[in-house]
Every structure is written in C-alpha cells, then in structure tokens.
C-alpha cells in the first residue's frame, strides 16, 4: 500500500510528459513537398502542401499560403486535420530549403526572414539598416510559388489567402497596401504584426490609402495577444481605431484580441482567422 504513491508519482510525471509531447513532425501522407530556387531572391525554398485527404482531385480549392512555415505549418496543418476538418482549403507552407527547423538553424532562419518579409528597410536604434527584401520575396511568391502550385493542383484562383505572423504579419499588410492596383491575395491574415517596422510604415500606408481613396477589395483579419507588450498592442489598437473611424474603401476588416503572448497568439490566431475567412 505504501508503494501506491510512488506509482502515482511516476504516472504523474509520465502523463505530464505525454501531455507535453508535440505531435510527430514527420510528414503525413497528405503533405507533398516541392523544392524551388528563386530567381528573384536567390534563395532556395521548400514548399509543403497539405490538401485534405477527402477532397476530390478535381475540386478547385481555395489556397492558403502560410509564411514562416518552419514555425507554423505543422500546427496549422494539424488544425485543419482535427479542429477545422470541415474546411476545404489547401495549405502551402513556405520553408527555407537549406535551413530545416532546428536550434542551430534558428540564426540563419531569422536573418533570412527579416530580409524576405520586410520592405522598406528599417533603421535600428544602433544605426544599422535591416531587412528590405520584400519586393523580391513578393515576386517569388506571386510568380514562382503560385505558378508551381497551379501546375500541380487545381485551385480557386479567386480565393487566395496569405497568412503571416510577426514579421510575416507585417508582410501580409504591406503587400495588401502596396499592390492594391493588382491584388493577388484576396484574404489577408496578419497576426501580431510588426507594425513598428520602418517608423510605423503600415499606418502611414493606411493613411495614404485613405487619401487616395482607392478600393481595397480584401478581407483582412488582424489578431494580437494581450500579453505581447505595450508597443505591439498600442499600435494594433491605433490601426483598428483608424480603420474604424475612417475605413479604407472596400476593405472588410476584423480586429481581434485574445489572451496570450507573442507565440501563443499564432496558435490561437490562425484558427480564429481561418474560421473568420471561411465561415
């Protein structure tokens, strides 16, 4: 009888371990990969494509492009397989081919994404010029990635979605305002966006969009976690207030806030965004 507590203690630790384990990151049969070298950025990328197993090959599915696939693809794919399994969308994650996700590759991944996901440059407080490769990365996404996807799958070309978190959230907003004359992505998801980038460039673009009074035919979802700090939350509040008081024409926007920090906001936010865009 005295040993019973020991068994309980061991089971406690085991169950905590089991409950903490993330799912097997190996690719499931429903995921296909494509390697692609970009003529625009000069980098090599890997695309991971998830198409619901039960969907017909002839079905033209809306395609969701997910930036920073190395951080978010597995989680969003699991979401689509489990919690949102009635959602008929195709998911395309963007990865860096030469830098699979690992502790030793985090440095190079962070350096590359800071270049790819930003435009214009950002002057840091130390005087360094950061980022600025967003135009090339946009060309890579819209010309090279999309062509490859269209060659291999039937997609609904009128329902392209671009999702990003943090710098990826900045990129999705930047491309929306910057390419308003030739919109490529119809739905835009921006989670915990780095609105501070380049002296609040996104808010300035929003202001310009109001002055130009152009139609922005997009469905926009912006989300942020409550525990992401003062600057990040204040800037999203400012963006939401400006859009509410002076809406950019034709832009259908949703601003959402949920409990959690910067990383957790991605987990919660992508699910809420997909539900919002595909009710």
């Amino acid at each position: 009888m005295q040993r019973l507590p020991i068994y309980f203690s061991i089971s406690f630790l085991l169950t905590l371990f089991i409950s903490s384990c993330s799912s097997d990151p190996s690719l499931s049969p429903s995921v296909q990969t494509f390697d692609i070298s970009s003529q625009f950025t000069g980098e090599s990328y890997q695309l991971q494509v998830f198409r619901p197993a039960e969907s017909s090959e002839d079905a033209e599915l809306p395609v969701v492009y997910l930036l920073d696939g190395y951080y978010h693809f597995e989680d969003v794919k699991n979401m689509l397989e489990r919690d949102l399994n009635d959602l008929e969308v195709m998911l395309v994650g963007i990865f860096y081919k030469d830098f699979p996700f690992s502790l030793s590759n985090l440095g190079p991944i962070e350096e590359l994404r800071e270049i790819d996901l930003t435009y214009p440059i950002h002057n840091s407080s130390s005087g360094a010029e950061l980022g600025g490769g967003g135009l090339k990365f946009y060309d890579f996404l819209t010309k090279e990635v999309d062509s490859l996807i269209e060659e291999n799958y039937k997609i609904d070309a009128a329902q392209r979605t671009l999702m990003g978190h943090s710098l990826g959230g900045y990129f999705t907003l930047w491309q929306m305002f910057n390419f308003v004359d030739s919109p490529f992505y119809h739905n835009v998801v921006s989670l915990s966006p780095a609105l501070w980038w380049s002296d609040v460039n996104i808010l300035k673009m929003h202001q310009s969009a109001l002055q130009e009074n152009k139609n922005h035919p997009f469905k926009l979802y912006v989300g942020i976690g409550t525990q992401e700090g003062i600057e990040a939350n204040a800037l999203v509040d400012e963006f939401a207030e400006r859009q509410a008081n002076s809406p950019v024409p034709a832009l259908v926007s949703t601003f959402d806030r949920y409990e959690g920090g910067h990383l957790f906001s991605a987990k919660t936010g992508f699910q809420k965004a997909l539900k919002n865009l595909f009710p």
Binding site: S11, L13, S20, L106, D199, Q227, G229, E231, A234, G261
Partner: protein
Amino acid sequence: MKRPLSLILLIACTCYQFLQAQGSTPGAIQSIEAGYEAGSGGGNIGLLIKANKNWLALERLSFHSSVAVSPFYGSENFTSNRSSSNGYSLDTHLRFYTGLGNNIRARRIYWKVEAYLAYFHAMTRGTYTQESLSISREYSTSEWAPDYGSRISLGYQLNSHWGLQLALTNSWKQIGAGLGPLAGLFAAEPDGKMSLGIGFCYSL
C-alpha cells in the same frame, strides 16, 4: 482527447499526493526554498518562495509536493527613432508541484525533478507614443491563465539545514504553438516563461 485526459490525471495525482501526505511525515512542511529568478520575456526579474511537503522519504530518494509563489517584474521603457514606450509588466505565478528528489555523493549533492500545474496573473500597464503620426496610447491588461511545466534543480547541502541550489523552470504550455520544445527559449511572455533561479533550501 489525450491532453484533457492527461490533465485530469495530473490533477487527480496531485490531489491524491496532498491527501496521502497528511500524517506520513511529521509536520506540514519539511523544507522551504527561496531564491532569485531570472526569467525570459516580459517580467524578467523574479522571486520564488516554495514550501515542500515530503510525503515519502527513502534513504536517498524522496517524493514531495510543493506550493510556490513567483512574482516577476519587467519594465518596457525604450525610445527608438521617433517612438517611445514606457510601462511595466508584472506576472505572478502560483504553482503546485509534485516530483522526486535524489541525494548523491554522500548526500551532499542533490537534484530534484518536478512537474507543476499553475495559474498565473499577468498585468501590463504603460504608454506608447509615436511622433510621425502623433500617436499617444495607453495599454493595460490584467488576467489569469492556467499553465503547466517542469522544474529541474541541482543543489549542494551546506549543513543539516541549509542547501544552495540552482533551478531551471520551464512552462510547457507553448509546445504545439509552432516551436516545439524550443518555445521556452523564445517566449517573451508569462505563458511560456522560462526562468533560471539561484537560492537556498532550508530544511526544517
């Protein structure tokens, strides 16, 4: 399904151990820990007070349950280019541990591995200003949230009462948020807090 079941088991085990503890060893508390914690993210300066109840003590191995309070404070004060942010965050963690300890090297050196269930209170208050667009906004939040994680500690017994120890505490809540076990390294908020502590353990 797997995760809720595991959590129910965790809670059941913790409750059982607390009940089992009653009367198995003399006194309600066998040792108290106190220390300084360097935490990741928002609240990065922390203190820890932890009371341990040994409910089974073998020659070298002990099983225990604990309750701990850890407040973490951090400031968000910076000025960069044309913007500034001034404020603070305070997150306070109430954690219920269970785990085992082991003495090695003639009982001078000991280590413990523990798992915890917790609630934390997260508070942030401050003001953000930006020159270019004349932005001035206040932001505040105050909320409770659940958490779970682990703690590994290594100590040196100075005498029959005092031990000096290092401990690494890590929330596991953000596993599954995309970064796997690396989440703690990058978490900048209370919901993925990692902390490295140094302090004393006083045995009663």
